[in-house]
Amino acid sequence: MFDLTGKNALVTGASGGIGGAIAKSLHEAGATVGLSGTRVEPLEALASELGDRAHVLPCNLSDAEAVTALPKSAADSMGSVDILVNNAGITRDNIFLRMSDEEWASVLEVNLTSTMRLCKGVIRGMMKSRWGRIVNISSVVGATGNPGQANYAASKAGMVGMSKSIAYEVASRGITVNCVAPGFITTAMTDKLNDDQKSGILGQIPAGRMGEADEIAAAVLYLSSAEAGYVTGTTLHVNGGMAML
């Protein structure tokens, strides 16, 4: 449906469930993809599964220098970065009263600060070509809060405010900046939940099931497309009705 032929997309956290699905979906639509992540092996595996038009670009997002270098190495290997998907994220859950400065800082650094650095690194090129798509993967938790996740929720809410501000600044250059906010998605992380936890979660979801990574990827694909050129500064909630925002 959406054609991304000739577009180059950089996806962070591509070794994870959601990031992998996003990369596959953009690739299937014709884009060349730069797969970034900390663990090289799953990135290599995904690249060989995709075949042509896939580049492996390992990067540790808690290393500021490596993050600053990533947009350039992506542009060097693909020719440009037309689409940036900031999907990588970490959690360090703890109740707020016990949350250490380190737990707070590491989550903000990886989830929010690295997103800022990557956005900064790709926007000049996008301005030049008068076309760009930035999709930041937030979370339902950024809008609703969640006990034990003050750091994570702050980082994901921060992403929304930052995206809107950048969206204002670059809209006149054909660049859109949007967020996708997943609810509970079936991934390696949620597989670890026990049956009691799962049924507790499902009770809060009108759709009565968890979401699939493909359903997040579809939202990202839409926001990356030419057709979504008039959509900017918004957050697309993909959560089975869990929070109707």
Binding site: R124, M127, K128, E169, V170, S172, R173
Partner: protein
């Protein structure tokens, strides 16, 4: 010097869509030539490309007028 000025003027005229005779020594990009703050970033990017130089952010902020740009580039190139 005049060569630099001509090349800078050409970029400014093309980018901001202004008349060539408006681009004078003291012409401020924002106040006189109708640029917005993003235009000034793009002008600096265009100067970097045209002259093969790097203009760091703190220096870029001092380039407010046509004259500033010509002076900076003449010294840097």
């Amino acid at each position: 010097m005049s060569d630099v000025a001509d090349r800078v003027r050409k970029i400014v005229v093309e980018h901001l869509g202004v008349e060539e005779d408006k681009v004078v020594e003291g012409a401020s990009f924002i106040d006189d030539l109708g640029a917005d703050s993003l235009d000034t970033v793009e002008l600096v990017m265009a100067f970097e490309e045209e002259f093969g130089i790097e203009i760091p952010d703190d220096a870029a902020e001092t380039i407010q007028s046509f004259g500033d740009a010509v002076k900076f580039i003449s010294e840097a190139a």
